[in-house]
């Protein structure tokens, strides 16, 4: 009996090891290796239209000597941070209302309804905002017909429009992560605080808010990662006045097929994300959300 139990155990252990391998190998081949290739190519050069292993920092020097490339990175960080902060400010009250003001049996339905436009076709999402804010878009038509403005407002094709597109999408995402965090906070904590004489504002500031920081952090981090790497939204809503880093990368790839330069920019983008990860790491407990 004992021998049999032992045997089963050994067999399971081996099978377990085997079961994880396909996914690990896949991730290594198609995720780790490509990123390494990208890092390596960032030290190569394109000579006569062919990739040549030159092992030089020339591309990095070029990146930092071209003002418009550094500026693209700075623009990206600014736009992404602005969008993230505004999204938190809109999403937090929304998640709070969903979790504490909407009757429990309605919560699921209202939550699903709130995040349903999350599934709007990705390429069309920014375009839809163009229909709303463009010169002859719905907002200008309404304001003009009400006689509030004479000239149509210039809202599209600007940094504000890019931020608007991001805020729309990420408000939904963060409402979800913050809500998931808020409903996990035990009501007894707030009741205990109230019994001990805390005012509603004190309860919020001392109990609810600190306990909901992980939800905010996870949502903000995901927002930052996705938004800073997004090409479509700035391309469609941003107009030609300023270039963000994903647009600069795509330009290098599609116009010039300049993989070394595209790699340098991608590496810089990853460095920014890694820095942000370490800044927010102590709040990021992915399992809790």
């Amino acid at each position: 009996m004992l021998a049999k139990a032992k045997l089963t155990k050994r067999k399971t252990f081996e099978f377990t090891r085997w079961a994880v391998h396909p996914a690990l190998i896949f991730t290594f081949l198609f995720f780790v290796l490509p990123l390494l290739a990208m890092l390596i190519v960032s030290f190569w050069q394109r000579i006569g239209g062919k990739l040549t292993a030159t092992w030089t920092f020339a591309n990095y020097n070029k990146f930092f000597s071209k003002d418009y490339l550094v500026e693209a990175l700075v623009n990206s960080v600014e736009v992404t941070l602005t969008a993230t902060v505004i999204s938190v400010l809109i999403a937090y009250p929304l998640a709070y209302i969903l979790a504490y003001r909407v009757p429990v049996r309605w919560q699921r339905f209202v939550l699903i309804f709130t995040i349903l436009p999350f599934w709007t076709a990705y390429v069309v999402r920014s375009y839809s905002w163009l229909l709303v804010i463009s010169e002859n878009g719905i907002i200008n038509v309404i304001l003009t017909s009400l006689g509030l403005i004479d000239q149509p407002l210039e809202m599209a094709y600007s940094r504000g429009a890019t931020v608007l597109g991001f805020v729309h999408f990420f408000t939904m995402l963060m409402t979800l992560t913050i809500y998931a965090n808020l409903v996990q906070i035990k009501p007894s904590y707030r009741k205990a605080a109230a019994d001990l004489g805390a005012s509603p504002l004190q309860i919020f500031l001392r109990i609810t808010l600190p306990l909901s920081i992980p939800g905010v952090a996870v949502g903000a981090f995901i927002t930052f990662v996705i938004a800073i790497g997004d090409y479509i939204n700035p391309q469609i809503l941003g107009g030609g006045n300023e270039v963000l880093i994903p647009q600069a990368i795509i330009l290098q790839v599609s116009r010039a097929a300049n993989f070394p330069m595209a790699s340098v920019m991608s590496v810089m983008l990853m460095v920014v994300v890694i820095v942000v990860y370490f800044i927010s790491a102590k709040h990021l407990k992915m399992e809790r959300v």
Binding site: F31, L116, P117, L131, I250
Partner: protein, 263 residues
Amino acid sequence: MRTWVRNTPAAVYLLVALAFIYLPVVVLVLFSFQDGPLPVPPFNGPSLHWYEKMFGNERLIESLINSVVVAILSAVVTTFLGFLAAYGMARRTPRFAGSIRFSLMAPLTVSYLIIGIGLLITLNIVGISKSLFAVGIGHVVINLPLCFAIIYSQFGDHTRNIDDAARDLGASDFQTLLHVIAHVMKPSLFASFCLSATLSWDEFIIAFLLSRFDVTLPVIIFEMLRSGLTPEVNAAGTLVFAISVTTVIVAAITVSALTSGRK
């Protein structure tokens, strides 16, 4: 009365937020039924003209079929890999469990754009040309972490007990996995498949970078966008949205039916 007063600001905030969230969606769908060349007010319609035009667009229909094929195949592979990995992690914690989980989840923290550029450079170095197959590989990479996490989160003590029971009754490793564990895990496998398929169906940047002649629907829509505002884009966008939402809703209903039947 007092609760009503207390809740009014909340209700107003909720309504304003919902209006903001739904504004572009409503405009998109409404003007896909526009009777005229521009998807802006005034609305003359409803008309199905732009849907007819869209379904007559051969390149668009071809790309739609490509998208469906890539979505389904990549979702099958993703769910299969994610299931095996989750089983391996849950059945008995392997050595280096922490680092394995970290490696499997790592692609979540990297922009799709960078994953796409990395794959593009790799294809270029190895000398393989761009194709829908490469797009599918890219979609498995980006969806594997999510699917693994969903399936892994549903493994618990009860699955371990069932697993032990099946083995004690003489089932082999494969029989246990295929007939017992996969059966118990059906809801999360189905959820993972649907999520993976919808995300692939809607993915743009990897498909844009890695495809050449055969492209997916989002890439075609992006090409159409370059010619400016046209209700045909609204119609295509509405179609993509409708299919995504239908998949998500069907998945949600099926999963809740599967799980509630078990209790």
